[in-house]
């Protein structure tokens, strides 16, 4: 049976740099089902990206993950690496922010894409893979005349589409988009997010969107998890959380995102890191 739920149970992730262990994420419990969308919001250093990477076990060596991350009934953290490969990409896809770094600069989009498909469907013929590639690129509104372009010849928005298509090629049930539209301008960002939502609905994906932008989160996700320096401070239905934030940090984040002004006429800001709790080091 296809796993229908990706869950994090009491997950604590600790980096071990040379000096001393730093907890990137502490006691986080959250979950997303297939066909649903979850937003993880936080500032840089909040550990929001760490969570996504932990699900596909792509954290740097020496990182300790405690708790359980389950995909259906499988505990991802206890799988041998061999079996993990059947999950990474195939069950849980990932789209990163930097599309230029993630695509191979010397191959055309088409050949990279066909390669990906054939990798995940061993035994598939070149022409069949090519046909499938065509279909998928169409699904993502990538014009056919762009197929034989090289990554650097495409706009950021177009590259992000390719990244999404590549992530979807193996037919995952879950997709994690980590700040995947942060480098794009307003219009492309909106288009890519709407595209993600469309694909999510048509394929019934479980979608996790990681972003620092509440506007993005509000647009795409049914549920939101707010991370502040490694702590999950709030988790619930997006509309409710943003309309009635309970935690001080979420309240502040909402005010900042709305560009509210203080009495002095300046924009509202969150207390700066320097003045925050020094016992909580910022994740590198």
């Amino acid at each position: 049976m296809e796993p229908d739920r990706l869950a994090f149970e009491d997950v604590t992730i600790t980096y071990t740099p040379r000096t001393r262990p730093v907890a990137a994420v502490r006691h986080v419990t959250l979950a997303v089902e297939v066909g649903r969308t979850l937003g993880i919001v936080g500032e840089s250093g909040s550990g929001k990206s760490t969570i996504g990477l932990a699900a596909i076990r792509l954290l740097p060596a020496g990182t300790q993950v405690m708790g359980r991350i389950t995909l259906g009934d499988t505990d991802v953290l206890r799988l041998p690496e061999q079996e993990m490969r059947a999950i990474r990409g195939r069950r849980i896809g990932m789209v990163f922010q930097d599309s230029l770094a993630a695509l191979n600069p010397v191959f055309s989009i088409h050949s990279q894409f066909v390669q990906t498909i054939r990798q995940h469907h061993p035994g598939m013929g070149r022409s069949e893979a090519s046909r499938q590639a065509g279909e998928m690129l169409e699904e993502l509104d990538i014009p056919r005349d762009r197929l034989h372009s090289f990554p650097h010849e495409l706009s950021g928005g177009m590259r992000q589409r390719i990244m999404i298509a590549t992530a979807l090629a193996p037919g995952p049930s879950f997709l994690i988009a980590d700040e995947s539209t942060s480098d794009l301008d307003t219009i492309s960002q909106r288009r890519i997010l709407d595209l993600l939502l469309r694909v999510q609905k048509s394929r019934g994906l479980g979608l996790i969107v990681v972003s620092h932008d509440l506007g993005v989160i509000h647009h795409v996700s049914e549920q939101v998890a707010v991370l502040y320096r490694g702590d999950l401070v709030e988790f619930g239905p997006t509309r409710e959380v943003l309309a009635n934030p309970r935690h001080e940090y979420t309240k502040g984040l909402v005010r900042v995102s709305r560009k509210q002004r203080t009495e002095s006429g300046l924009l509202y800001t969150l207390p700066s890191r320097a003045s925050a709790d020094p016992a909580r080091p910022v994740v590198p």
Binding site: A24, G42, S44, G45, S46, G47, K48, S49, T50, V282, V283, P284
Partner: protein
């Protein structure tokens, strides 16, 4: 460097940079590289020996026909050559020449190569095209051939050997410096100082140079072995250091006929030369691996 701040900030800075180097990952990676560290120690030992040694050994050019081709032993630690000269003294004296050439040629090629590379990469346009073409032409000649041409034109002396080997190395250094400069020219921190109206010379010296120099220095270190080898090659074919003055190259050349029955005459300078060349390569490789990730340039603080 003439700093604009002869003030408290500057005073805090010096020990800081030193400590930063010592705590840096490249330093750590390098010192944990056994081969590179052994090579480095060997090079320092050779360097110390050729600097200090000749003061304590006999005159390397005094021949003693009564003591020709003596094998290594109690009287002569490394034996004597076909003219009865002390091999140890000659290896040390020859080493002075070889290492002097390597160090001087490196210094010269670094200075000229970095200057040309940085200026052409930064300026671009016609100047860049011209300098690049000259580099290409020079690079298309084998080092030895280039050396022989220079020696043929100006005669064999220490100075011309250094000049000849430098000319062959300048384009390698220059190309690397140019590539680095072109890579960082569009970076915002360079554009930023241009936009502040900082004079170009200062931009090149304080902003471009420190950010491109590491790979250039790494390359030059690895190259020093090749330069010592080039000197030996030139001397070997008779275009370099002229007998009776010793050089590892002409020692090998002169000793070659005796390989059958007095192996030590060519083999000892040859072995030392090989070990020195290898050691430079290993140190160069170690530095390259140590600095490969540009540690001091932090990419970002992604979560």
């Amino acid at each position: 460097m003439k700093s604009s701040l002869a003030l408290p900030i500057d005073m805090q800075k010096r020990p800081l940079i030193h400590r930063r180097f010592w705590n840096s990952d490249p330093r750590r990676r390098f010192t944990s590289n056994t081969l590179a560290m052994v090579s480095l120690c060997w090079l320092f030992a050779v360097l110390a020996a050729v600097i200090v040694g000749p003061w304590f050994s006999v005159d390397p050019n005094v021949a003693d026909v009564t003591a020709r081709l003596k094998p290594p032993g109690a009287d002569f630690i490394l034996g004597t050559d076909q003219l009865g000269r002390d091999m140890l003294a000659r290896v040390l004296a020859g080493g002075r020449v070889s290492l002097l050439v390597a160090v001087m040629a490196t210094a010269v090629s670094l200075t000229i190569g970095v200057f040309l590379g940085v200026v052409s990469g930064y300026r671009g346009g016609f100047l860049d095209d011209a300098i690049t073409r000259v580099f290409d032409v020079l690079l298309s000649f084998p080092t030895l051939l280039l050396g022989i041409i220079v020696m043929a034109a100006f005669g064999g002396s220490l100075f011309t050997v250094i000049a000849a080997t430098s000319i062959a190395t300048v384009p390698m250094v220059g190309r690397l410096a140019r590539a680095g400069t072109i890579g960082i020219r569009p970076r915002e921190y360079i554009q930023g100082v241009i936009a502040l109206g900082i004079p170009t010379s200062r931009i090149l010296l304080r902003h471009v140079l420190p950010n491109i120099i590491v790979p250039v220095l790494v390359l030059s270190t690895g190259n020093m072995g090749r330069l010592a080898l080039a000197e030996a090659g030139l001397s070997y074919v008779g275009a370099g250091i002229q007998p009776p003055d010793a050089s590892w190259g002409n020692m090998i050349a002169e000793g070659q006929p005796y390989l059958q029955y007095a192996w030590w005459v060519p083999v000892i300078p040859g072995t030392v030369l090989t070990l020195v060349t290898l050691a430079f390569s290993f140190v160069g490789d170690g530095l390259r691996d140590a600095f490969d990730v540009r540690e001091l340039v932090v990419q970002g603080d992604g979560t």
